[in-house]
Symmetry: C3
Subunit: 348 residues, 3 copies
Amino acid sequence: MKTNTGRFFEDFTLGETIRHATPRTLTVGDQALYTALYGSRFAVASSEHFAQAIGYKRAPLDDLLVFHTVFGKTVPDVSLNAVANLGYAEGRFLAPAYPGDTLWSISEVIGLKESSNGETGVVYVRTTGFNQNGERVLSYCRWVLVRKRDGASPAPEPHVPTLADAVQASEIARHAPPLTIDSYDFDLAGSADRFSDYETGEKIDHVDAMTVEEAEHQLATRLYQNTARVHFDGMAAAQGRFGKRLIYGGHVISLARALSFNGLANAFTVAAINSGRHVAPLFAGDTVSAWSEVLETCPLVGRDDIGALRLRTVATKNRACADFPFKDGDRYAEGVILDLDYWVLMPR
Amino acid sequence: MKTNTGRFFEDFTLGETIRHATPRTLTVGDQALYTALYGSRFAVASSEHFAQAIGYKRAPLDDLLVFHTVFGKTVPDVSLNAVANLGYAEGRFLAPAYPGDTLWSISEVIGLKESSNGETGVVYVRTTGFNQNGERVLSYCRWVLVRKRDGASPAPEPHVPTLADAVQASEIARHAPPLTIDSYDFDLAGSADRFSDYETGEKIDHVDAMTVEEAEHQLATRLYQNTARVHFDGMAAAQGRFGKRLIYGGHVISLARALSFNGLANAFTVAAINSGRHVAPLFAGDTVSAWSEVLETCPLVGRDDIGALRLRTVATKNRACADFPFKDGDRYAEGVILDLDYWVLMPR
Amino acid sequence: MKTNTGRFFEDFTLGETIRHATPRTLTVGDQALYTALYGSRFAVASSEHFAQAIGYKRAPLDDLLVFHTVFGKTVPDVSLNAVANLGYAEGRFLAPAYPGDTLWSISEVIGLKESSNGETGVVYVRTTGFNQNGERVLSYCRWVLVRKRDGASPAPEPHVPTLADAVQASEIARHAPPLTIDSYDFDLAGSADRFSDYETGEKIDHVDAMTVEEAEHQLATRLYQNTARVHFDGMAAAQGRFGKRLIYGGHVISLARALSFNGLANAFTVAAINSGRHVAPLFAGDTVSAWSEVLETCPLVGRDDIGALRLRTVATKNRACADFPFKDGDRYAEGVILDLDYWVLMPR
């Protein structure tokens, strides 16, 4: 069989390492497309001049463009037969990636647990993205619910990995880029609000909203070489669970991050993803809004120039965020589609 | 309040200067997207080889990509609460911009006039775009009708600036790039018609037409980091004046310029914008056509290689331009959406 | 008349050479857009590192991006008044093209044959694409059915050129790039199947499928500066033969090639196009699938590192390819839109 129809639950072995195809050189062309897809305005990825002024070699690629590229490579090997993408944890951005860098990735199977119905199982992987020099640029865990090829095949010994609730501040300090923040220009960055202006518990409605078109999410998802059929095949989707194409969850993360500029303009880089959950699916024609809560403010050891904010950014569809919709009791509120817990860096 | 909800009329002071976020490095990636969005074929921005042959350092960025980028930065500070974009004047392209250049912009408030209803006011700004070396690449005036925060707040002393009807030919001559036009290849540029072949009063139907999709204008407008909500938020737009998303007026200008290639192929660069008026709104699904009239032909002092044509380009929606639709009496004709008066340079 | 309304059948002379506008510098920006439009994953165009490891100067532009760019230039001169694009033959990729290369093209009229109805005629051209150094990068023949300006004008002496059924393997060997295939990494390329694993007569269903949106094919076709009105003008199209915009045939070829990755991952470059036929039109909203048959496997003289596979790739709309739809008797089967016969190179 020359065609890849994807791995089923039985095809994963605890501890195995999968080296993914296809390496991808990201360029200024990819960064331009990323800007056109989300309208991101964080100054460091937008301006060579701004980035160099504060100590970057040049304008780095948007953190989430790096995430989606590394993620996209894992799809043919990990999630082609996934029923659901259950969550992310321990995501750490380890080094900036720059236009011209070639990214590739590997995944280690760190957990397996068959579902009680015997039809599916949860696969846990830790994926690491590298550049052309073999330096790690990103590491994260995700777990997905994958179909079994054959309901009758025996269940593996269950193994559920212990994953941290949040990436430690010490980890973030270790991987934060060396910067010369005294050259950071708050006017040009778009806001006077810095690290010390944010407080734990503070909530920010990001006000703006974007309606998503089929062409947009398809262009994005192909840019990341993510091949999951549910995003592209309208004919099959018409027969499927939703009756239409499903938008790649990462597209929602990028929309939410871009919307969050309005209120978090100086959150110039994403340092870590503590946990992420795609609460409900997004479809073309839906309008995405977002709000954020400051979960924690954390000075970084050895850094008097920058601090880390731990944020929860919630994205909704077809619902404005002035009332900060999140949960009704135990359940996510109507319209919530993303619950993302992550660390950003901000000048002090 | 960390979220920018935009300035209201009361927030502008005559003579103040606003330094806008976010600087933006434009690259070959942005130029490629610009080509994909409009299909522009003017040889100088299309070919490194052609551009260098006639004396450019390399292929410059499309003039209107520069305009939209400089303009986009002003939106969060100037027109987030605009009811209407009323007009442009005194637009001058002062130096070519190249891939790799970082653009940023400032605006000076040069006029204020409250409306008689006390609900809105006209704000006049002169915006200047700079590159990373602080060189001016573009300057233009625009005036917008902006909502007041509070109808009861006192009106400022009215001040309406005097704006030139058209940029002077001497200004254009001063900023025209030094070129070696004898190496200009008319075959490769797509037409044998040069400066001396055009006559005042001549009208040209550009024949071609383009239907605009939501995904296209959204990609364009985000590429320019223009954040005006009316272009993106379909949910809010459904409740608004038009019931749907409004297309950024600059998108129409770029479509008209790209369509004008067919008939003006050697108009290799835009030198100035004398005035521009968005006569009616454009929406996704509409088809844009264009025609041009030569308003003036002007040799440039000290330049025997190039001349300037002053053009009126009129764009329409859902109406072909074989009959050169413009005005019916005092009013713009049905279907007219853009009335643009500008100078282009052409080999003599 | 300054506007180009295109040549009619009477305007072509046997043996004449047309030098086309507009030269086009293709960059990493265009390559990024190409990836976003099709999701192509062939390793050589995807990764600088991979390409250099096997002997390319750097990551070459996708072969079909080169094809579409060279083709696009011919449209204003050859096919603006075409009723149908009838076929391709003798397509040969002669040298890799790289980001930064400037492509331009010429066409020689190699055949003319008026139709029996006296209303149209077939024009045969051989188009050659060059880079900025005058090196040939691509050559192909195509023939189109073009309207006559005047049914009464006399028919030219009919001349139908003799075109090869397929490009010879010796031709392919001569133009195959020198490579160091021992550094080819099959894991990173996405499949262990190499030249020797494919057999004549083997059929491969590429499984995946993509639904095409108006914005996507318009972006693509403008990227190639292909100006054929049928692809863009929805207002005119509503009155036309199909009642809607027609998708550029080359868009289908690129979709089919990208889909073919799943089953042909190591077919790292297209060497030649033997024949191509657009069997039926594609419209926005249709879903494209594809399958391939191995027509011939051919070791290349003097090359023990790579071999050539001759493939037929068939694309369909709104029909899956598990049953390999092709012909029902003499006629193409329902849903077939493309019949493409071409050579690819693969490591042995």
